[in-house]
């Protein structure tokens, strides 16, 4: 008696299964069944017919809502076998609209189930939440840190009391917009969207009420004058200042002394000259300055580079040279339109 389990297992081992799933059953499923019984994700979103998927071990064993379709060891209780073994004129015969599987194919599936429905090492489409062993193991995504600028805002915001709604409204005035740099931060981003053309020095003065909180200030394309920058001098936490396409001159930049956290200064298309170079060089934390379309000369840029070798100085862009014949086409194109 003690020997019998051993004998039994030996017997099963010796009598190797006649049907190899991968070699014999899988080709039938792939050729005749899976097209309608697969993952919607691989089938343009089409749901599997009858709620049955035959594209993975997990799914075949799961069956449908009405129950299993494969009962290992018992073909007669297995719907999968039952529906392929029906008479050719039976409306329920699978696959539908065909003469069904060949006798040999039906017999293969019957034997496979009768022998215990062994899938071998095949898994196919993975169960929900599992990954298929067929896809290579990939390095996990690095979770990463917060972007550098966000970390800076977190540090600068420590211990700062937020502005009250009244202070915010007064500071923004009729044209401005003040937003926290992210939810919960007391620090503010200030700009004048869609009103640049109507925004002058007077509209900017109000910002003084929240000057301690402003970390980015976008005055680009406004009508401000040099005096407007007086309010900027009161912004100790200013990280980014955008003055592009304004009429400001060297006189404005003297207000920037003491902005010890300024990282980015945009002077694109302003009237600043070489006289501002020394001022810019003294902004200790400055990382990038934009000087295209200013009156700063190549010599001035050279001087700034000397004073601040690590500063990123953006001036004349490396734009593609015109195409051969390009501008001429352009010219004629416009003429046609007018």
């Amino acid at each position: 008696m003690l020997l019998s389990p051993l004998l039994l297992s030996f017997a099963v081992g010796a009598e190797a299964p006649a049907v190899d799933f991968r070699k014999e059953v899988l080709p039938i499923l792939k050729g005749r069944c899976i097209e309608c019984h697969q993952d919607p994700a691989t089938n343009s979103g089409k749901r599997p017919k009858g709620g049955l998927r035959l594209d993975g071990k997990h799914w075949i064993l799961e069956g449908t809502r009405s129950g299993p379709v494969v009962v290992p060891g018992d073909p007669n209780l297995s719907t999968l076998y039952e529906l392929i073994a029906l008479d050719k004129d039976d409306p329920d015969l699978m696959p539908p609209n065909s003469d069904g599987l060949s006798k040999a194919e039906v017999e293969t599936i019957r034997t496979w189930i009768a022998e215990g429905a062994d899938f071998g090492d095949w898994i196919g489409a993975p169960a929900p939440g599992e990954t298929s062993p067929d896809t290579p193991k990939l390095t996990p995504k690095p979770t990463g840190k917060l972007p550098r600028i966000v970390q800076l805002y977190i540090e600068l915001g420590e211990g700062v009391t937020p502005c009250t709604p009244n202070q915010l409204a007064a500071a923004a005035g009729e044209h401005g917009m003040l937003k926290p740099v992210f939810p919960g931060s007391p620090l503010l981003a200030a700009n004048f969207p869609s009103n640049q053309g109507r925004t002058g020095t007077d509209h900017v003065r109000g910002l003084a009420g929240c000057a301690e909180h402003i970390v980015t200030l976008d005055l680009g394309r406004t009508r401000i004058t040099d005096e407007a920058l007086a309010v900027v001098a009161e912004m100790p936490r200013l990280v980014k200042l955008d003055l592009r396409q304004t009429n400001i001159t060297d006189a404005a930049l003297i207000h920037l002394f003491g902005l010890n956290d300024l990282r980015s200064l945009n002077l694109f298309s302003t009237k600043v000259t070489d006289a501002s170079i020394e001022v810019i060089a003294k902004l200790k934390k400055l990382e990038t300055v934009y000087l295209w379309k200013t009156q700063v000369t190549p010599a001035g840029i050279g001087r700034l580079r000397e004073l601040r070798p690590k500063l990123r100085i953006v001036h004349t862009p490396d734009l593609p040279a015109p195409e051969r014949g390009g501008p001429t086409e352009d010219e004629s194109g416009r003429r046609r339109r007018r």
């Binding site: 995504k141 709604p165 937003k179 694109f268 934009y290």
Partner: protein
């Protein structure tokens, strides 16, 4: 609405409002942003908590038809799959580009090459839809594209211009989906022609025009009050948007002939170059999302000959765009995306000298808006067949863009039929791409 429906729709916002309120009461934080109409930390209706953003706007360049990765930004020098396309060293140490991108080779220090993008959609319509929306194309619903999500969640910045514009592409892929019609992109058929029909008809004075509009409002009022539904409101919104656009002081943004000759020449005279120039002008005026489409990448036949035609305008326009944005200081908070629905087979289809559809491993680009330049993210094997490192699904790719824009990728919003959707479906942002 039944109580259950009400609870389901109200669930997420009210829970968050409760938590925020609690935080405000206990720690004295957050009250100002919540109470103030000046706040940008919440979406327009106050329901969606936005996150820190490194980018404010997006220029989305769409290579329609499936851009060959091996012949553009992921060459595999020496591999059997490379074919006759040569490659060049770029100004970023680890990045080579194909011989068709000599200009971009000088600007790759601004770009993150995502070599391991993976899609499960191998047909054009399905692939384009998936790339734009992060959802698979279904018969029962239309999903919003990223530009619509951005304007819906974060709101427009410039009140008088549309927040979402699609150039050269029509409205098939860039779409407001199930969101209200005001999130649909404004389509621009040709960048050169700009915005058509935006002035009053000749012979209609301002006074007469205003009177007509007033009459129209009066006539519609009773109907609108009686049938105050989203669709009816959307119809009214459309008129109001058109009017504010007609009167916008920023209307010139649509006119690229206002640019100096030298700038126009740098971007190129083809529709894609002009589209990129228009896109730059629009984002300068705080339009939040502009898509520019370049067609013709479906190179099943004569792939290598076609590359010589397809790449140069993109090389030129993309280099001009990146250089120009950078010199204006706009690349700091503008994200430039170059995307396509899938790549092309590394194996060359020798009969037709072409490459076929290949969603398994392809290349897209990100630049600006907080993205780290001069790097390659993800890796395919030596011949470009399989992703071997850091796979980025289409959903992850879109989640990364959304993350840069401060849009919460976990937030579920409910469609009119009560189904939950997220900005990038199940995508997880790849934070390693940011500086």
């Amino acid at each position: 609405m039944t109580l259950r429906e009400h609870l389901r729709r109200a669930d997420e916002p009210s829970r968050r409002t409760f938590v925020t309120g609690l935080a405000a009461g206990l720690f004295g934080v957050g009250t100002a942003p919540l109470a103030s109409p000046l706040s940008g930390a919440l979406s327009q209706d106050g329901a969606i908590p936005l996150q820190h953003a490194t980018a404010k706007r997006v220029i989305y360049l769409y290579m329609s038809g499936g851009m060959s990765q091996l012949d553009t930004f992921s060459p595999k020098p020496g591999a059997a799959t490379q074919g006759p396309t040569e490659s060049l060293q770029s100004n970023a140490d680890d990045v080579r580009v194909s011989e068709h991108f000599p200009l971009m080779a000088r600007h790759m220090d601004k770009v993150c090459v995502v070599e391991s993008v993976n899609s499960n959609q191998g047909a054009h319509a399905q692939g384009q839809y998936y790339m734009h929306t992060s959802y698979e194309l279904r018969g029962t619903i239309r999903h919003p594209s990223l530009g619509a999500w951005l304007n819906y969640m974060a709101g427009p910045v410039n009140e008088t211009l549309p927040g979402h514009v699609a150039i050269n592409g029509g409205l098939y892929n860039a779409s407001g989906g199930f969101l209200e019609s005001k999130y649909m992109p404004l389509p621009i058929g040709s960048a050169e022609d700009g915005l058509q029909n935006s002035a009053r008809a000749e012979g209609v004075s301002e006074r007469i025009f205003d009177r007509r509009m007033e009459r129209l409002r009066e006539m519609n009022e009773a109907f609108r009050d009686r049938y105050n539904t989203k669709e009816v409101r959307a119809y009214g919104d459309m008129y109001e948007q058109a009017l504010s656009l007609m009167n916008s002081q920023d209307l010139d943004a649509f006119d690229i002939s206002k640019e100096p000759e030298s700038i126009q020449a740098a971007y190129g005279s083809d529709p894609f170059g002009k589209g990129c120039l228009l896109a730059r002008r629009l984002i300068e005026h705080d339009v939040r999302f502009v898509e520019v489409v370049k067609n013709g990448w479906d190179t099943h036949a004569e792939n290598f000959d076609q590359m010589g035609e397809l790449c140069p305008p993109v090389d030129r326009a993309l280099s001009a765009l990146l250089a120009d944005l950078d010199a204006r200081g706009l690349l700091e908070d503008t994200m430039v995306v170059l995307a396509t629905e899938f790549g092309r087979t590394p194996r060359i289809n020798t009969q037709r000298d072409g490459r076929d559809h290949y969603p398994k491993a392809f290349t897209c680009l990100l630049a600006g808006g907080g993205i780290q330049g001069g790097i390659k993210y993800g890796k395919t094997d030596a011949e470009g067949h399989e992703v071997v490192e850091n796979i980025v699904t289409v959903e992850d790719f879109n989640a990364t863009i959304a993350y840069g824009l401060g849009l919460p990728t976990e937030y579920e919003m409910y469609s009119p039929s009560g189904r939950p959707f997220r900005v990038a479906h199940k995508g997880i942002p790849v934070k390693a791409m940011f500086t």
